[in-house]
Amino acid sequence: MTETDQNSVRVVLPVAQAADADRYRQLVQRFGSPLLVYDPQTLRTQYARLRNALPNVGLYYAVKALPEADVIRQIAALDGGFDIASAGETQLLLQEDVFGRRTIHTHPIKKDSEIRDALRYGATTFVVDNIGELEKFKPYRARVGILLRVSFRSSSAIVDFSRKFGCDFDEAPLLLEHAATIGVHIKGLSFHVGSQCHDAAEHVHAIQRCASLMRTRNATDQPPMSVLDIGGGFPADYARRGTDIDAFCAPIRSALGELPDDWRIIAEPGRYLVAPAVKCITTVVGVSDRNGIRWYYLDDGVYGSFSGQIYDHASYPLQTLRDGPTARSVLAGPTCDSIDIVAEDIELPELTAGDLIIGHEMGAYTAATKTRFNLLPDARFLNLEALPDS
C-alpha cells in the first residue's frame, strides 16, 4: 500500500454507543455547535505512552499542533517542554507561566527581531540550517545553544519536511566549520523525517547518521556536541489500525541505546499527543439529493476544524449517532466554496437536519489552521475537565 492510500482511507466508525451519543447531544444542547471537545485524560494517556516508549528522551510538545492554553497547562503539569516557532506561541506560554527555559525555538528561519524576542522570553536553544541563519546569531553567540537541522527525506512520511528545511547532510560539516570560525556553538543536530510516519526506519537511519557525524566531530578538538533532536513524526491513528507507539518506537529506542550516555536526546511530538484528545462535534444543517447522492451540509468544514484535510492531508474518522441502512453520501462544509467537502462517497445512514457527526482524532493541525473564510464562527473549544457553565 502506498503512503497516500494509507492515509486517505476514510474510516467511518460504527455508530456511537448510546451513552456517548447522549453525551455528545447534551454538549451541543448546552454549548451549541460546532464544538471541539478536548479530553485531558486522553492527552495524559498519550503522554504517558510516549514517555514509556521513549524513556530518557526530553519531550518538547510542538505547540503549533494545537496552541490552546488548556493543552499548554496540561503539558506543563506533566513536566513537558515546549517546541515554539513564533512570538505568538511564546506569548501563549508566557500567559501560562511557562518560563523560556522549558522551551526550544525550532523555526529554522527567523527575523532578528524574533531572535531577540525569543531571547527576552528566555529561549536560548535555536535551530539553524544555513550560513545566513548562523550569521544572525553572531551577536548573541555567548548566550545561545544552536541545533543544526539536517535533512533526510522520508519515504514513508505523508508530509515531507526535508524539502523546505534542513541542510543537506553532506553540507553539515561545512556549516559546523563555519560556526566554529564565527564563534557560534552548535550544541547538536536536529532532524525531522516528516509527519505521520508509517514506521521508524527513517528515524533510525537519521539517528545513526547524525550520531556518526557527531562522533566524528567530537573526536576533534572542537567543543563537543551533546544534543540530538529527533523531531516528531509519531503517528496518530487516523486509519484506526491500532497504532502501537511502543512498537513504533522500539527501533528508535534501540538506536538511541547505542549513543553515549552523556548526550541529551530530545523530541518534538505534537500530533501523537493531541490528535486523539480532541473530537469535533458538528451538526447537519441541511440535506439535499443531487444526482442520486445524498448531500449533508454541516456547520463545520475544511475552512474550519477540518482544515487539516487540506493542509495536513489527514482524513479523520467519522461517526454518526444514528443506525440504519446506509446510502452513498457526501458531507459538505458550511462555506460557499465547492472545495469545502469533508467527505465524499461514504456510506452513511439516513440523517436529518439536527443530527450530529463526530470527527475523531481531531486535535492536531485542525483548529490550528482554520481560516476566516465566510466569517463563520469558530468551533467552540471545550475542556471536558473544566466545562464552563454555559
Binding site: Q91, L94, Q95, F99, L119, R120, G122, T124, T125, A142
Partner: protein
C-alpha cells in the same frame, strides 16, 4: 510557586527560589517580576534576567556613584540615565551635589520600585535637588541645554557618545554599566570603540556583583582628564573622609584598585 531560572545563557544558569511573588507584569514586550528570596531579599527580574536584589545592590550602586563622584572632587551637577529603582540616586545624594537630573523612560518603573523595592530609593525621590525627567535618555541628551560634571548611565541602552559629551562640563566624567566581561566581552570592545573617539581617556573599572553571574562586572569610564583615574588612594581617602558617609563595599583602596584590570578584560579593548 516555582523557581526563577535565569535565561541569559543556554549552557549555564543561576536559579532562585521564589518565596513570595510581590509583583508581576507580563506583556508582549516585557516580563517583569519582583519576588522574595530567602538569601537575597527582594529580587527584580526583567525578561529572565536578574536586574537587582536587595542583598547585593549596594555593590553596584556604591561603585557606580562614588567612584566618579569622588574622582571628580567637585561634582555639582549630576545626570543619571535610567536607574528607575532609585538606588543610584540614593548614593548620589550622599554627596554635596547641587543638582541631580534623573532621566527615566517610564514613570511606572519609578512608581513600581517605590512600592515594591522601597529600600532601594529609601526616600531619595523626595530630595529637593532632584529633577526627575520622564523621557528617553538618548532624546534627553540630544536636546538638553544643561551641563553636567558626572553622567551615570544606569541603563543597558547605549547613548550616543557625542551627545553625552556635548552635555558634559570640561573635565567631566561619564560612567556606564557594561555587563559581565567574562561572558560578554563584546560589550567592552564595543563600548570602548564607541567612546574612544570622543574622550582623551577611556577605560573600565570593575566590581563583582554576586547575582550578576560570571565574575567581574565592568563599568565604562570616559573623561578628557587623564589624571582622574590615576589619583592616589590617599587623595581619594581625604575626600571620602570629609564626606563622612557609610559604605559597605566602597573604600578608597577599592576605588583605586578597581581600575586594575585583569588581562582578559584588557584584551577586550587593548590588544596591542
Amino acid at each position: 510557586m516555582s523557581d526563577f531560572e535565569e535565561t541569559l545563557y543556554d549552557s549555564v544558569a543561576q536559579k532562585f527560589r521564589i518565596d513570595k511573588l510581590y509583583f508581576e507584569d507580563k506583556t508582549e514586550h516585557q516580563h517583569l517580576m519582583i519576588f522574595h528570596n530567602a538569601a537575597l531579599g527582594r529580587v527584580m527580574t526583567l525578561d529572565g534576567v536578574v536586574q537587582t536584589t536587595e542583598a547585593d545592590e549596594f555593590v553596584y550602586h556604591e561603585m557606580m556613584a562614588h567612584v566618579p563622584l569622588l574622582a571628580h572632587e567637585r561634582a555639582e551637577q549630576v545626570l543619571i540615565i535610567g536607574g528607575g529603582d532609585g538606588g543610584m540616586l540614593r548614593e548620589v545624594i550622599k554627596h554635596p551635589v547641587t543638582h541631580v537630573t534623573q532621566v527615566e523612560i517610564d514613570l511606572s518603573v519609578v512608581e513600581m520600585a517605590k512600592q515594591y523595592l522601597p529600600n532601594h530609593s529609601a526616600g531619595a525621590f523626595d530630595d529637593p535637588r532632584l529633577n526627575l525627567v520622564i523621557d528617553d535618555g538618548m532624546a534627553f541628551v540630544q536636546n538638553t541645554d544643561q551641563q553636567f560634571d558626572v553622567v551615570i548611565v544606569d541603563s543597558t541602552d547605549p547613548l550616543g557618545p557625542g551627545e553625552v559629551k556635548r552635555c558634559l562640563n570640561p573635565g567631566g566624567i561619564v560612567v556606564t554599566q557594561n555587563g559581565v566581561a567574562f561572558f560578554q566581552p563584546d560589550e567592552v570592545t564595543q563600548t570602548y570603540a564607541r567612546l574612544r573617539p570622543h574622550f582623551n581617556d577611556v577605560s573600565f573599572y570593575t566590581a563583582a556583583i554576586p547575582t550578576y553571574y560570571g565574575g567581574l562586572m565592568t563599568f565604562g569610564w570616559a573623561t578628557d582628564n587623564t589624571e582622574l583615574r590615576r589619583q592616589s588612594s590617599a587623595t581619594i581617602a581625604t575626600r571620602f573622609e570629609r564626606l563622612g558617609i557609610d559604605t559597605r563595599f566602597y573604600t578608597p583602596d577599592v576605588h583605586v584598585g578597581a581600575f586594575a584590570l585583569p588581562r582578559y578584560i584588557q584584551d577586550c579593548f587593548d590588544r596591542d
